[in-house]
């Protein structure tokens, strides 16, 4: 990562994608279950509202990071998402990147005295 390529809005979008990927590490889930789990696991810090989950899921599916599959049960059709190997690698790499960004941000916020303390 260079000093000039950091995009705050893009980072926020990436965080949402990582939350979804992270939730799917536990196993395949439906969209609503991902939304519930993210909210529960983050103790209400992160919430998907107004259907923002769907463009994220569909974008991840198009990128091959998750795999969506339809199944029927009692005449109902439902879509389940599962993390792919590509998605797992992406999550791992991006987690490191987020960690680096957050560390640098914290160092910046705390100031030079705090950082060295």
């Amino acid at each position: 990562m260079t000093e000039t390529d950091f995009d705050v809005q893009g980072f926020a979008r990436d965080i949402n994608e990582l939350l979804v990927l992270s939730s799917l590490q536990a196993g395949p889930k439906h969209g609503y279950q991902i939304a519930l789990d993210v909210e529960t696991d983050s103790q209400g810090l992160f919430r998907f509202r107004h259907g923002t989950l769907y463009p994220i899921l569909h974008r991840l599916e198009e990128g091959g990071l998750v795999r969506g599959s339809w199944s029927g049960e009692g005449g109902r059709r439902r879509k389940v998402y599962a993390l792919t190997a590509v998605g797992r690698r992406h999550l791992s790499g991006e987690t490191d990147r987020v960690q680096e960004i957050v560390s640098r941000l914290l160092a910046l916020l705390r100031g030079p005295g705090e950082a060295t303390a």
Binding site: H30, G31, Y32, Q33, A35, L36, R47, F48, R49, H50, G51, T52, L53, Y54, P55, H58, R59, E62, G75, R76, R77, R78, K79
Partner: protein, 257 residues
């Protein structure tokens, strides 16, 4: 799909259907996925002890896309062609598409001619063969334009029809060949009346000529008819899936037929 009586989210889904600017096959999948998730989230919220109205409201608030999300969904589900040509000015794109269509029609005509030349059927063709081939090229161009419009450019919308033009052109090709053969037959009969001694020499080439005219027309009409059938069946299956997800039977939604 749940029973219509239990489909409490249908009004919201119908409203969303009108606002979601993506091709119908994508829209059906999104609505179907959303309906299941809404119902299941409502069940989960009810299990947490929330009143029914509150559970429904919270499920809708969490999962029903707002305007910004709809725009995002439209971007994600935009056909590849739209994404690739997004930066081209409209006029230029239309000109390119029309040029490609004209090129396709010319290619079909040249292809037909090449096949007939290879089969040595253009020695002394029926005067009706060229109009049949030209109509066949128009039919080919119409098929390509329709397939391009439906499968590549934008996918079908609820009101998409127009495959009937393919069937009409297929029938016209066949009709023209039958009329041509009838006219040729009368002219040939007149010729034989004038010089009956040439009948033995003329009849076989005439039969080959007319057989090739009819064969070409039948093949073109069959190809057109088959394409019409496949496209129509595809459109019908998409529309029925669309109606099912919105809880409309064919009888209750005649305006969408």
């Amino acid at each position: 799909m749940s029973a219509p009586a239990a489909r409490a989210f249908l009004p919201a889904l119908r409203q969303l259907d009108r606002r979601l600017p993506v091709p119908v096959p994508h829209r059906v999948r999104i609505l179907r996925e959303l309906e299941y998730d809404l119902e299941e989230l409502e069940v989960q919220l009810l299990a947490r002890g929330l009143p029914a109205e509150e559970a429904r409201r919270m499920a809708l608030e969490a999962l029903l896309p707002d305007g910004v999300t709809l725009d995002e969904l439209a971007r994600v589900h935009a056909p590849l062609y739209q994404r690739l040509t997004r930066h081209l000015p409209g006029e230029r794109l239309r000109l390119l598409e029309r040029s490609a269509l004209a090129l396709a029609a010319t290619s079909v005509l040249l292809g037909e001619t090449w096949v007939l030349l290879q089969a040595r059927l253009l020695g002394s063709p029926s005067p009706f063969l060229w109009p049949v081939l030209s109509l066949g090229a128009l039919l080919g161009a119409t098929v390509l334009a329709r397939v391009f419009q439906l499968c590549i450019k934008g996918g079908p919308t609820a009101g998409t029809g127009g495959a009937g033009g393919i069937l009409g052109l297929s029938a016209a090709v066949l009709l023209l060949a039958v009329v041509g053969t009838t006219v040729d037959l009368h002219r040939f009969a007149a010729l034989l009346e004038r010089s009956p001694e040439r009948a033995t020499a003329l009849i076989l080439p005439w039969l080959v000529r007319e057989a090739s005219l009819l064969s070409v027309a039948i093949l073109l009409a069959l190809a057109g008819g088959l394409t019409w059938f496949l496209l129509t069946q595809w459109l019908v299956s998409i529309r029925e899936a669309h109606r099912r997800v919105l809880g409309e039977s064919i009888e209750t939604a005649p305006e969408r037929r």
